[in-house]
């Protein structure tokens, strides 16, 4: 392919102003932690540290509940899915119409009541006391630790990714990344880990661990309140910006009707001259012309990392746009002066590194290399200098150097010549318009890590195209993103499984009284209405504003925040908008950290190992456990799991399959007993896990679970758990009368009141 046919272009960048906004937000979080720590000095430590002294008012309770539930998934995974599959995500989250009333109302009043009767401050406490069974309590602790550990690692990754997007073009951050990269190289460890990710992970983890350890439950709640406000304000700002920038929702949906899913592929990049030190070109675009003269437009997945000393970069993931109107629109956008200027700034950086490489070689050459090499290097060096001068001129005085489109076609902009080596179509919806506005929604196929080649001799030479599968011409709904059975499953997933999350149950144990509960349910209902459906609208608009991000859609939220604000010249706002997903992750992580440390200190240590422990010991252990859990999660996230949203779905549905059935029976059925509830918990866990394990054999990945009749494992897990609890309870002896009387009967209530 001739070099002149390629158009490398860069993505937008965040400004320092965004960083300042973001730092102000982080400082506020620490301020709240300090205030919470002062409260800790005045009240009963354990109850205050882990449960906020059961004193949460309406706003605190409503927003901590909403913010904890709206995890990193809501602001990273969910927007990513909307972007990838379109309007069908409205049905995917359909049960959010009743999530607030279900998640808070199904268990809220009763679990708070039962926890007060026994003095329970954790979920395992409730189960242990309700049945007077230490073994049941320990089983609950084990399951919480098992699932939360996975989830915490995934959330740490989400927080780091968001931070990375915000900071990627901030000079101080790039300096820090370079410093860490040198440290890694010197120490010879963590070579496989991306330096930018590592810096962000450390910053994120240190911030969250410190404020959670320092302030305890109230710090978590107050920061949740602030984070909850940030989230809704972020969405409210983004919605009109997105709508105005796409020309209205009618226009946006009309465009989506014409859209066909992109092709995914792999490409190979070749440089004429290597770089003295590595450089990342942020998500460049390039165009190729096929033999029929048709222009094809590709976007590179993530930054194109060019390592020092290398001239060939293999198997770079790319997305090819396939909708004619989208390609034209993107070409026009890429020819805007700002985009071209940003590209040239990056290209100039690459040229400087190439010059540095030739300088190094020329200096090293004095003692020995062939004169012919030296001559060629000097020629390269002069050419690169000329190109750099021209680029610098264009950057400094864009008005004096001719038309923008001429700049795009200039040879000197081609820092790396691309060749597409592999392309494949979507598994469902390929080549068909209208897929983004109907069900079941388009579904990408898994891209291989390396381009399949017939033999090594053919490596990277020409583009190969995946043979269409026999079914790709048909539209079998079960191949799409959300077939009917999965739509039903997700109605269970959010509303019912949301009720079964131990992290939500803890919050339900912390509100002050029933008027607080009633008002909080109403508040959360309005809150969710303001967040979730608008998110669907915003990220459907993202398909028009930021095409080609299909392979890095986890970054669509922060990228959209930066794009929307920089398009209206308000870059500082990006900090606030990116703070929204960051807040969502933080509010989930801090709650999970505290849940895990409470499980260790309260449920394992105090209630099983050392009931005589003094408050001072408990206090020290609580701080230590929170710190340790955070550090372990940080270490786990250094080599991050790949499937963020999948892990969140796995742990969320697994916890519900284990806890919801036994908890509902424990709270609402006087006949419930230990054998029944323990069996139900284990059966839910086993059924859910076995479907995931089966998936790893049948579908080739643990995170593609086996689906009985196409239903998600959550439905099977819940069914098995409820049925087992009921049947085993019926087959075993009734619980002791005094326990039933204590938790279900009025005379016991009166007796408690008299004691009070």
């Amino acid at each position: 392919m001739p070099a002149a046919d390629t158009l490398p272009l860069a993505a937008v960048s965040a400004s320092n102003a965004a960083l300042v906004t973001f730092l102000v937000y982080t400082l506020a979080v620490f301020g709240l932690a300090a205030l919470s720590n002062r409260l800790l000095q005045k009240k009963s430590f354990l109850s205050e540290y882990f449960l906020g002294s059961r004193s949460l008012g309406v706003w605190a309770f409503a927003l901590t509940f909403a913010a904890t539930s709206a995890s990193g998934g809501s602001f990273t995974g969910f927007p990513s899915k909307i972007y990838t599959h379109g309007w069908i995500l409205g049905l995917w989250i359909g049960s959010y119409i009743v999530v607030p009333i279900c998640a808070m109302g199904l268990l809220g009043k009763r679990i708070n009541h039962v926890a007060r009767i026994s003095g329970a401050i954790t979920v395992p406490d409730v189960l242990r006391d309700r049945f007077r069974s230490p073994g049941f309590g320990l089983l609950a602790v084990s399951l919480i630790l098992f699932f939360m550990a996975f989830n915490l690692v995934a959330q740490f990754k989400a927080g780091s990714e968001i931070l990375n997007t915000l900071l990627q073009d901030v000079p101080a951050f790039r300096g820090a990344v370079g410093f860490v990269a040198d440290l890694k190289q010197d120490a010879g460890i963590l070579n496989e880990v991306n330096s930018a990710y590592l810096v962000c992970l450390l910053a994120f983890a240190v911030a969250v661990i410190i404020y959670t350890t320092w302030g305890g439950f109230h710090a978590v709640v107050w920061t949740d309140v602030m984070q909850g406000v940030v989230m809704v304000v972020g969405v409210i700002i983004m919605l009109p910006l997105a709508l105005s920038q796409v020309g209205g929702l009618e226009k946006s949906t009309a465009e989506m009707k014409q859209m066909t899913p992109p092709r995914l592929g792999l490409a190979r990049f070749e440089l004429a001259v290597p770089l003295a030190e590595g450089y990342s070109l942020p998500s460049p675009w390039f165009a190729l012309e096929d033999p029929q003269g048709t222009r094809r437009l590709f976007r590179v997945n993530r930054a194109l990392a060019i390592p020092a000393g290398r001239t060939i970069i293999e198997d770079v993931k790319v997305v090819e746009l396939t909708t004619a109107s989208e390609i034209e629109r993107q070409f026009a956008r890429l020819q805007e002066a700002r985009e071209v200027r940003q590209t040239m700034v990056h290209v100039a950086q690459v040229k400087r590194r190439q010059i540095a490489w030739t300088d190094q070689r020329l200096k090293g050459n004095a003692g020995g290399q062939e004169p012919v090499d030296r001559g060629r290097l000097q020629g390269e060096r002069e050419r690169l200098h000329e190109e750099l001068d021209r680029i610098q001129q264009l950057i400094d005085r864009p008005g004096e150097t001719g038309g923008v489109s001429a700049l795009l076609n200039a040879d000197e902009l081609n820092v790396a010549v691309p060749t597409v080596t592999w392309t494949q179509e979507y598994a469902y919806g390929a080549g068909r318009p209208g897929m983004y506005v109907t069900g079941p929604g388009p579904l990408p196929s898994r891209l291989p890590a390396t381009a399949p080649r017939p033999d090594d001799a053919d490596r990277g030479a020409t583009e190969r195209v995946q043979e269409p599968s026999p079914r790709s011409s048909d539209l079998d709904l079960s191949d799409g993103f959300l077939p009917l059975s999965l739509a039903i499953s997700f109605f269970f997933m959010w509303a019912i499984s949301g009720s079964g999350q131990p992290s939500s149950m803890v919050r339900l144990m912390a509100f002050k009284n029933t008027p607080t509960l009633r008002r909080a349910i109403f508040t959360v209902a309005i809150y969710y209405s303001l967040i979730y459906f608008p998110l669907v609208i915003i990220f459907c608009c993202a398909r028009l504003l930021l095409p080609g991000m299909d392979l890095e859609s986890d970054r669509i939220m922060p990228q959209m925040a930066v794009t929307l604000t920089s398009n209206v010249g308000q870059g500082w706002l990006a900090g606030l908008l990116i703070a929204a997903p960051f807040a969502a992750v933080m509010s989930t992580v801090d709650s999970f950290l505290l849940m895990m440390s409470s499980a260790l200190v309260r449920d394992v240590y105090q209630r099983n190992l050392n009931p005589e422990a003094s408050e001072r010991t408990i206090k020290r252990l609580s701080y230590l456990a929170t710190l340790l859990v955070g550090i372990v999660a940080l270490v786990g996230a250094v080599n991050p799991p790949q499937f963020l949203q999948d892990i969140i779905v796995y742990t969320g549905s697994g916890l519900a399959a284990c806890f919801l059935g036994p908890m509902i029976f424990a709270l609402y059925w006087p006949r419930a007993n230990v054998p029944g509830c323990v069996s139900g918990m284990l059966a839910g866990f086993g059924a859910h896990l076995s479907l995931y394990f089966t998936g790893s054999f049948v579908n080739g990945s643990f995170f593609e679970p086996y689906q009985i009749l196409n239903f998600d494992p959550i439905v099977v897990g819940l069914f098995v758990s409820f049925a087992t609890t009921y049947v085993v309870t019926k087959l075993t002896a009734p619980p002791p009368q005094d326990l039933v009387r204590r938790y279900f009967y009025r005379d016991a209530a009166r007796a408690r009141q008299n004691i009070g």
């Binding site: 409205g90 359909g94 009043k109 003095g119 009917l484 209902a525 459906f533 009967y745 005379d747």
Partner: protein, 125 residues
């Protein structure tokens, strides 16, 4: 409600020659939970079939999907409008239906010292 609370269950424990009554907080919570479950079921029964019949390929021509205010019509009537209805129901449920109950006091609220720890010590003994 109050009447059901007054009716002792047949297997209720006997105290002072009289059958004990269920705790009203338990009864109110259970009744409210049932209403909530029915609402969830109603949402499921409306939203999923409506969206499937009116918005899935095979039942509708993808390129000619109707819209309401830019939202595909199947999603507008299947999810957006029920969302509004669910919010209205929530208002009614929270402000007119749900009972205010006395949830009682936790052990640590009844004294200044850390009774949570005391409970654990007592249990261990």
């Amino acid at each position: 409600m109050a009447s059901s609370a007054a009716t002792p269950p047949p297997d209720a424990p006997v105290s002072g020659g009289q059958r004990a009554e269920y705790d009203p907080v338990f009864l109110h919570s259970r009744r409210e939970a049932i209403v909530i479950f029915v609402v969830w079921l109603a949402g499921l029964v409306w939203a999923v079939p409506y969206c499937y019949v009116n918005g899935y390929v095979g039942n509708v021509e993808p390129e000619s999907v109707a819209t309401v205010w830019g939202i595909p019509a199947w999603l507008f009537w299947g999810i957006a409008v029920p969302w509004l209805a669910a919010d209205l129901f929530t208002v009614w449920f929270c402000f007119w239906y749900m009972q205010d109950d006395d949830l009682g006091a936790a052990p640590e609220e009844e004294s200044d010292h850390d009774d949570v720890g005391a409970a654990a010590r007592e249990e261990a003994r």
